[in-house]
Subunit: 342 residues, 4 copies
Amino acid sequence: MSKIKVGVLGATGNVGQRFIQSLENHPWFEISALAASERSAGKPYAEVADWKLGMEIPESVADIEVVTTDPKKIDADVVFSALPSDLALTAEPAFAREGFVVASNASAFRMEKDIPLSIPEVNPEHLGLIDIQKKNRKWDGCIITNPNCSAIMMAVTLKPLLQFGLESINIATMQAISGAGYSGVYAMSIYDNIVPYISEEEEKIQTETLKIFGDFDGSEIKDANFKVSASCHRVPVIDGHTEAIWATMKSNPTPEEVREAFLKFDPGLSHLPTEPKHPIIVRDEQDRPQPRLDRDMGKGMSVSVGRIREGIRYVALGHNTVRGAAGASVLNVELLKEKGYL
Amino acid sequence: MSKIKVGVLGATGNVGQRFIQSLENHPWFEISALAASERSAGKPYAEVADWKLGMEIPESVADIEVVTTDPKKIDADVVFSALPSDLALTAEPAFAREGFVVASNASAFRMEKDIPLSIPEVNPEHLGLIDIQKKNRKWDGCIITNPNCSAIMMAVTLKPLLQFGLESINIATMQAISGAGYSGVYAMSIYDNIVPYISEEEEKIQTETLKIFGDFDGSEIKDANFKVSASCHRVPVIDGHTEAIWATMKSNPTPEEVREAFLKFDPGLSHLPTEPKHPIIVRDEQDRPQPRLDRDMGKGMSVSVGRIREGIRYVALGHNTVRGAAGASVLNVELLKEKGYL
Amino acid sequence: MSKIKVGVLGATGNVGQRFIQSLENHPWFEISALAASERSAGKPYAEVADWKLGMEIPESVADIEVVTTDPKKIDADVVFSALPSDLALTAEPAFAREGFVVASNASAFRMEKDIPLSIPEVNPEHLGLIDIQKKNRKWDGCIITNPNCSAIMMAVTLKPLLQFGLESINIATMQAISGAGYSGVYAMSIYDNIVPYISEEEEKIQTETLKIFGDFDGSEIKDANFKVSASCHRVPVIDGHTEAIWATMKSNPTPEEVREAFLKFDPGLSHLPTEPKHPIIVRDEQDRPQPRLDRDMGKGMSVSVGRIREGIRYVALGHNTVRGAAGASVLNVELLKEKGYL
Amino acid sequence: MSKIKVGVLGATGNVGQRFIQSLENHPWFEISALAASERSAGKPYAEVADWKLGMEIPESVADIEVVTTDPKKIDADVVFSALPSDLALTAEPAFAREGFVVASNASAFRMEKDIPLSIPEVNPEHLGLIDIQKKNRKWDGCIITNPNCSAIMMAVTLKPLLQFGLESINIATMQAISGAGYSGVYAMSIYDNIVPYISEEEEKIQTETLKIFGDFDGSEIKDANFKVSASCHRVPVIDGHTEAIWATMKSNPTPEEVREAFLKFDPGLSHLPTEPKHPIIVRDEQDRPQPRLDRDMGKGMSVSVGRIREGIRYVALGHNTVRGAAGASVLNVELLKEKGYL
């Protein structure tokens, strides 16, 4: 079987580079096109990328000639979008119209009624929105989005807690600087410091989580009805978002019951290439998870949890630009393929 | 009026150095003795202190000959204790027995029934315990303690919220490395990292807060009856603890009402030398308070708050080794003096 | 005596804020005007400054209405320039023409033949250029510049070594992020990292040092004839440049002789308000100087040296935005005033 | 062919963990024994290791029962030693006496006349010392050492410069905190700071380099006769030592000639499993090499160089606990095996 051709939009940025890393040696997909701004177009990727991951640029992409973000210039079935939201707003529909599957990390379309906000381990049934979307919009292709990075980590850990009857969530995030993009945070702003504010992040966590856990009745998503209250903080960590979570639940489980629920969590996706062996890793040490030690678990796709205490309180951690961005989109497309959408 | 002579126990450590800084040029107190371990005794302070604050050792203490932690070797009315708790357990009563006022930053005696856990802006009436303590224990002197650093910051901000009927508190702390003492955290542990655990910190915040806000009926303290649930994290910040706080209150105030309460807060202590002009500073910028920018406000004695949102959620910040340790003890003794206890 | 009125150009930036800090409560000078870009003009300084020093904005400047960089809008005798070099190129002569003394931290005019590159402790005789400059350029005012921050620290320490016959210098700098301005370095670029390159920095150190130590024969400066070879590195430190220096000298002094020369160094400027008690502080501990501990010595105006070893090798350190920028300019103007130039 | 059994001494520490990482899936070697202190003996490695690399403990070692550092308890042909030097002093000869090949990262025996201080790319002929050593000491086994981490990086880059006639070297190092071991540097010491001193480091670089490049005449090593002057600094970087090097050479090559020499450098060891494709990587970007981006090149075994300028000055960088420690020892044993020493 030949591989499915995929393109990356916004290929030179932080998340774009993570897409390339996630797709290197992928058993189902191969990168056939890399798109970036006018300025980079026409040049080999290695020349324009300003590559910032601590590894060499994969040889398979180094010589690819970068193109502009134009459906006509891209020979692929799928495009992964690492575009900023303002550009995504016009570019992503243009691609969907032309028949591409657009797997987007941008926030532009996440809250649209007919567009799935998908996490394969959490709400695979939401893929049903795609048929509705295509019909509604008369698109040959479609858009599928992944949630905000902080929302993803939390959602993966809340899924096995649904059985206990979620009532309300308080979440304090400690978010890595890479989440703001390569040039998003000045060193003078964050060194020996914490910035207790990330633009629109709390709103995203609060609203996206309710859609993620919303009920899909075959025609639309009805928002989940628990409450989420978020407080977001930028911290001097390169990669890996840490989350202190309080989950109030109807059946009032013990910490041990919550731990068991995390351990037993098995979304049955082990046949997807990017799905880690353990989507949730339970750390029993009293001082884990920690971003530098745990962010790369499961090739960056596992969410690690620990310190499960009365409350219920616990700490969750995941790699924000892998599990929370590029890897999340890739996993979404793997699920799409498995379900026959491409 | 000549100044009151004060000694510092544990003078060479992190908090000991902050005591010296807080007491330099103090209008009421002068340092007459510095105590440390056997190893340092007999030598000038400047020689043994391994001074680590970004200023020269004050000349007034540089040549003081360090003594051991022995009441007989110290000519003073007050001793400030920066001892580790295990040493405090025997040393502090020995000093109190000999007639010293012991102002302690250690946790050893904080939860004792007859020993005040004092924050002048919050529970000055708790000083009444001192007479009971002296009678109970037949001490000429006494012990007064200040709470855990994280508990202090929060308590100062909760005081003006009492009027709204506190019901429950969730607090996620992001604590500076200096809080663990100079040698308390390895660089390899915390660089590009967060450690979501600080030994006994959550318990201290949870139990001390209830004593701090306890009702003193003239004979004993009855614990406050709201709930506190803490999640503590060490972050790569040198000084300054940041706290994300959720406060559920009976009368359900708006963020604006909470802001007003913070702004109006005036404990009436402006005649105490260490009391800052504003014990609570309200920051209206959307991204404040921040440790590097706000920890030194009010010479390190102000607690800064910001991001007051529905919930009620807000962010509080204070200097952990000044407001949360040395400065807290000094302020306690200023209050003692003003109230005639020395 | 009433104070001399001074303005600050580029008042909202990193170095502009340091100028305000250096000038607060200055016994000779008072700030009468603050200039910044069009965007800020007409508004109170506190509103537009985005103040980033860990202290409150001085009350004396908070309400000053910011003006544009226009000599007609500024009522002052002196302007301190924290302008970027491209703006300095036209603005500074405009002010000098109108009769202002312009004390500039910009590099635009440093290497001009008739403009002093001045460090009061090193080359006070170079002020003689000012008369030549005024005559040449038919200016009522004048421009005086201070060298590059890294060059200043080194030059202060080389001055007492001149007696040994300097032949060649190798210098490896480890420079703080504040040196690039508030937005000059992205957190993702420097966290857990070193960047072994700072644009034009090595060239400045190499050429400016020779002018600083040049011989002024009453009409022009003849460059010093030793060699300087620099290697510059950005490191994750907020303030304070550290320099590893090798100085080869004709008379081949011992480390002890070099130490003596540093200790005896007295430029006789103690009557200038900003001049620290010790322009050079010798640290005998084996692990000093260190930026976090030593950068604020002498209110940020002392250069600390240590680790004087065979070679001769030693380590020098100073505060880059105080001794290396704002404070350097202020000290220059203090010297000008003392010498009767204003 | 069955694999050669190897043990690791000091297996639980920082460098011990890097040995395990370097040996995982090694085509020639397999770990058969892990030794650590009394306290850890008898327990499975995973239980006692306090594993601190950002990956899971390899399954192949997780269950190995840790033994004490005793030749009788270890079934292997080779032991890799990550022991501290004081323990190495007695333990390593005990192993050599019992017939083990001891590949040591400790400094204890590096400067012994009959013990090779080996870097395969630099001085493979020094292996000849092993026969002399065995005869001298009447050992069945032998000790082979690798140099100090900073010395290794520099030596690899000096090898291709030998042809130009090395006269003298100045080197300023900026060394990562991992080089001091996991608990070697307190966070309070290095955060927002540089420590311009590392105990004995300058001496090691200066003396070891001359032995590394010494001439082996079949019976002994005659030290190289160029001069090395080092200035060592600890910086807030986790892994990766950066070095600013000045190399004065007789034939006075141009930067371009030096670059060519680096590019052409081929020690002919590509058949050794740990040898990277490029032992020296030349970076032509003006701001490289950088530790976070370049330390993992060649699986941590490449030394990256850049900024080759007149002087000759250049910047070198390598992974201190891989190329500079564990990986260096493994490569030494690979060379030993290839040369028939085991």
